[in-house]
Structure formats: C-alpha cells, structure tokens
Symmetry: C2
Subunit: 386 residues, 2 copies
Amino acid sequence: MRDVAIIGIGMNKWGELWSDSLRDIFVTAALPAIKDAGVKGIDSMYIGCMSSGLFVGQEHIASLLADYLGVLPASATRVESACASGGLALRCGWLDVASGESDIVLVSGVEKMTDVGGDEATYALSTAADMEYEAYNGATFPGLYALVARDHMRRYGTTPEMLAEVAVKNHWHGSRNPNAQFQMEITREQVLGSVMVADPLHILDCSPITDGAAAAILCPLEMAKDLTDKPIVKISGIASATDSIQIAHRDDLCAFNAVKVSAEKAMAKAEKKHADIDLIEAHDCFTIAEICVLEAMGFFKPGEAGPATLEGVTRRGGRIPVNVSGGLKSKGHPVGATGIGQIYELVKQLRGDADERQVEGAKCGLAQNMGGTGGSSVATILEVVE
Amino acid sequence: MRDVAIIGIGMNKWGELWSDSLRDIFVTAALPAIKDAGVKGIDSMYIGCMSSGLFVGQEHIASLLADYLGVLPASATRVESACASGGLALRCGWLDVASGESDIVLVSGVEKMTDVGGDEATYALSTAADMEYEAYNGATFPGLYALVARDHMRRYGTTPEMLAEVAVKNHWHGSRNPNAQFQMEITREQVLGSVMVADPLHILDCSPITDGAAAAILCPLEMAKDLTDKPIVKISGIASATDSIQIAHRDDLCAFNAVKVSAEKAMAKAEKKHADIDLIEAHDCFTIAEICVLEAMGFFKPGEAGPATLEGVTRRGGRIPVNVSGGLKSKGHPVGATGIGQIYELVKQLRGDADERQVEGAKCGLAQNMGGTGGSSVATILEVVE
C-alpha cells in the first residue's frame, strides 16, 4: 500500500450562496485546489454529497461536475453517508491512490442547501435519520441530539453553560476564518437567551444550513516532493465505522461507538497516541455533539469534556484546540462538504498557513466527521512531513 | 496491488416487490452472497444506489443496511452514479481489497422504485440527466434515447425491427432466468405493435421500473482458494469513465465515449482482445442502448450491431452472446442494483452454474454498466481461474 499525501486544497466562502448553483460552488473549491497542487489534470475524483437529489433535484453529479470542471473522461464517483459523505469520499480517494490505481486524485465535498424552503431542508436532513422509525414519528435532528444532551446532563452533570461555551469558542475561532459563514463572536448569554429549538438546545447550539464546497488533491507521497514546494501533508491514518442510524437501537445514547471505533483504528494506523495530536476538527453539528465525540475518541473521560470546554482546554491556546476553523457551528455545515472542509483546515494549519487562527507548532491533526447522530464516522490523522 | 476474486454472489427475484422495503430487499441479496462465500463476517461494504432519497425518502443507507445486515461497526459506503451506481460500488470494493486495506468486502446494489407513483418515478429517474438543461425542458430518458435512436437510424440505416430484435432476444434469454422480472418471450410484432413512448421507441423497447438487489463478496485472490471450493472468478480488469451527462454537449450522439474509454481501459488491464470475451452483460436500458454500447466497445463497427442482432450473433448460441440474463429489458432495471446484477450473471456463467441459460465454455465475460445516457460507464472483465 502506497503512502498518500495531500498536495493541494481549496474551498470557497461558505454561506447562503444565492447566486451560485451546485456546479458553480463545486468548481470554485476544486479549481483552487488544482492550482494549489500545481497539477495539470486528474486521474480520478470522488465527490461527497449527501442529498443533491432532495436539495437541488440532481443525481449523477460526479459526472456532471467532472464535465463542468473540464476533466472528462476521468473516473468520477459520488459518495454518500449523510454528513460523513466528505470523509468517506476522502477514504475512497485515499484507497484509489494507495492501491496504485491512480496517481492524482481530487476529493471534494459539496452541498447546495438553500434552494429549498425550511420545511424541505428539514425533511432532506431528516433522511439521514432512520425515516421509518425516527423521522416519520416526528423526531428530527435537533430533537434527537436533545435526547442525547438530556441523557448526558442527567448522567454527568453537564450544564447548558458548558454546551453554550462550545458555541462561544467555535464562534471566537470562526471570527478569524475568512471562509466562515458566521464571522461574529457570540457570548454565553446570547446562546442561553436564544430561542429554544429542542430543550436543552437553543438555536445557537445548532449548526446552520449552508452552501459550500471544499476540495483536496491527493497523490503518492513519493511523488509529492516533485510536485510541490509547499510543506507536504501525509494521510497517516484514516478509518470509517458504522453504528445504528436509529438511536433507539443503542445501548448508550452518549457513547457514539462509530466515532470511537473509527478514531481508534485511524490512530492505530498512524501509530499516534492522544498526546501526539496537536489539534482536532470535530463534528459539532450541535454543541452536545462536540462534547460527545471528544469523549468517544478518548480525549476526555465521559463527563469531562463539558467542564474542560468551560476551562478553555479546547480553545486555541488551550491544551488541545478543537475546531479552530470555527467548526460546523460558525464555519457552516454544507453537509456533504463538511468532511473535506475539516481536511482543508488541518492542511492549512499543518502548513503553518492559517494566519491569525494558526495553532503554533501544529504537526499532527485529527479530523472527525460523522453522519446523522453518529450512524457513520470517519477519522483521519494528518501529519506534516519534515 | 493485490489481485481480487469474487467468491460469493446473491440476488433476489426482481420485480414489483410490494411487501418488501429497501432494507428487506438488500438483505435478501446480501445474505445469500455471504452464505455462498462461506465467510463469517465482512470488513467493509459498498452499496450502489441511485436515489433512495427520492424513491423512499432515506439517505445514509450504507449504515442503515450494515445495521440491518448485522455487520456493525464495519465500514460502509454508499456510491452513486445514476444507473452505474452498482458498477462504481464494485470498483470501490475492488480498490479496498486491491489496496490491502480490507480482506472481505461486500459490494451490493439496491433500488426500491415502486413506492412512488409513475410521475414521481419519472422525476427521480430524470435526475440522472442534466436537470437544468434537459429534464426541466421536458426531455426525460425515453425522449433522450429516442434522439439517439433517430440519429443512429439516419446515419446507419438501423431499423425499428433491429431495435425490436434486441428486446425479443433479451426476453428469450430472460425467460430462462428465474430471477427475471419478465419471464415471458415476446415477438417482434408485439414490440412493434406496442404503444409508442418516444418515437421510434415503443414501450417494449424500454426497460421497466423494478425493485431488486444483488450482492457479491470480494477477497484477495490468494485467499480465495482457502475460502471456497467453488470455481474462483477473478476481476481481471475494471475501469470507469465519464462523459457529459447532457447529450447536447457531445460531438456524436451515438458514440458513447465513456463506454468506449472504460471498456478500452478494462480490456487493457485484463490483457484481453475482443475475441477473448465469451459473453457480455451490456446496459440495455433501451434497445438502442445495447446497439450503441456494443459498437462503442468495438465489438461491432458503427451501424453493424443492429444487423448482427437480427442475424442472431448476440443470442445465446451466437458468436458473442449479449445479456443472457435477460438484460435490463427482461431481468429488470432496479437502477442502482443493475451493475451488480450483471456481475451476478457473469459469475454464475463462469462457474458453469447458469442452468438452461448457460453459455457453453464461458471462461471470460465483460459487464458494461452506465449511468444516464452514458454520462458514466464502468466496464469489468471477469475470468474463471483455472
């Protein structure tokens, strides 16, 4: 199996991109990635996208986007696993290069979510839950994560203030990210005073509806030095895992087993311990999610991520910075793009190219991207090659 | 790169499966494949599915189906490329084994199409075309393929009788397939007398709406002999390619360049010439499609596949049997499952296990699976290992 490097990244400014279609949004991330890598063409591409069918009435998008990007007849594949679509697209692209089949591979995530109304967007997103047993019975994602939050509060004493601090931290981070959807800081009082969506989750505990895309160019590590003068970032470990997408099937609402398993496998492949990780991009679709996934991955014991967040441990400058990009909460959450957006941020940081949000001395980062309430999860360890 | 074998296959009877949900349909193909392979568990799975979002209101299906199959927390990935979703799922599974990442991989295709009405099904299928430039302007697939057929007739003298004979042949084949949706023979007069859908395509020139699934188990070739006593089938070559999904972008309506490129690449990898191929499963979503793809792959010169069909060259017993399973026309076309359904048939044939539809002495077969009007195509060469 060949080692795989990331030699180019691109993303656009995320937000409500009224004047851009799905295909425009994709190319405005893919072209900068190709330019950043300095490659002339690509052998193969993988697109993470959750529901172009329900959001914009278009399937078969990998070929459509290959055409719009001008790379026909290259192999093109769309990958879907709800909000983990981007992470799984990266895993497929990694397999394509690692196997020896392709040398230059584009991986991207894209979602255009604002062309439908709020009810339709809620319906489309709820198809990431078990429709027959959850959504058709009235449980959409804020409600499902509220159940998780209630259980976490009951068992571990987690408080609404701890949840709110996740949002405050991520907005503080995102206010330094020119590509973030919401570049304003917020206060704990604003979060706790914002409208309640599903008790205990306020609207400012929830990630937004977003249009956006991100892209990365992969190649064999041994080829990377000849292709780029920039610092080379290696995929040291990547793994995906699954859990029941229906939370009623689980023994423990707060355990997020797919997250645990994917992170354990990725860290084992990369031969890394928790202390080796300099920063994390974690899947904070709701504030409680960031707390649960940090605990599931073993960075904190169950019940300890909330207090640690209050103490600033996960802020930039803290012991283990989490979501210095702004995370899903502030940077935005174009569902299929999020997993590649995390990779964009880690590569920026590992290159030392993240400007005023730079984590000093970052050499190794972890991205954790999940679908639904953790029915799927992908963990990726990136390292800068000295 | 490791050589990859197929050691297990499964499918259910395709048709209008009113009493089965998407998840039931999947497991009734996946479980027989696992049993056929004699394996205890799987490391990873790939699901080809075009539009579970629009057909049954459910995305995130790879995790859902992994749960229903009882293989959590195995890695699970859904792959989409319209009607080529199954073929691309096979390619991803092949990369997973070839790279050395996984040993036992399930690849499957599934589609549940009959839970929506006819208008909704037509809409869902049209999302495989370019919605902004084709479907929203009124062009659905029968119309698009009728344009191709008209061009082929004008340039090469192809006749409605030649098109009809594709359907007659495939129904004759499918009448020997207990898993086929339509197991009755039809006559050329019946095809030509059937209702016109989009001139020159009658309803009996069109593949049907179908529920169904198929599955295959992959493993490293070197491991196959220890796992199964059945004849071992090797993936000798697999390749995918893309074309504009919008036919107005093409220089030649009849050329199907993605089909040409994918077949050339797969045959080069397998080191096979046309004469080495004993049988073909081709993507006959419409009768004209079978003619065009046989020509695009170089088995016939442009304009010669129609007359050859009339002469029986592509019948079982002819020089190069095409769609002895019944093809999409008679076996059915559950869009995301079709590519794996083709693999099921080739493995049955190469094992010498196809009963009364057996192609005598079949050692090497080609499957060609495409999306839309050829916007994506996957070609796969399978060979029995002596």
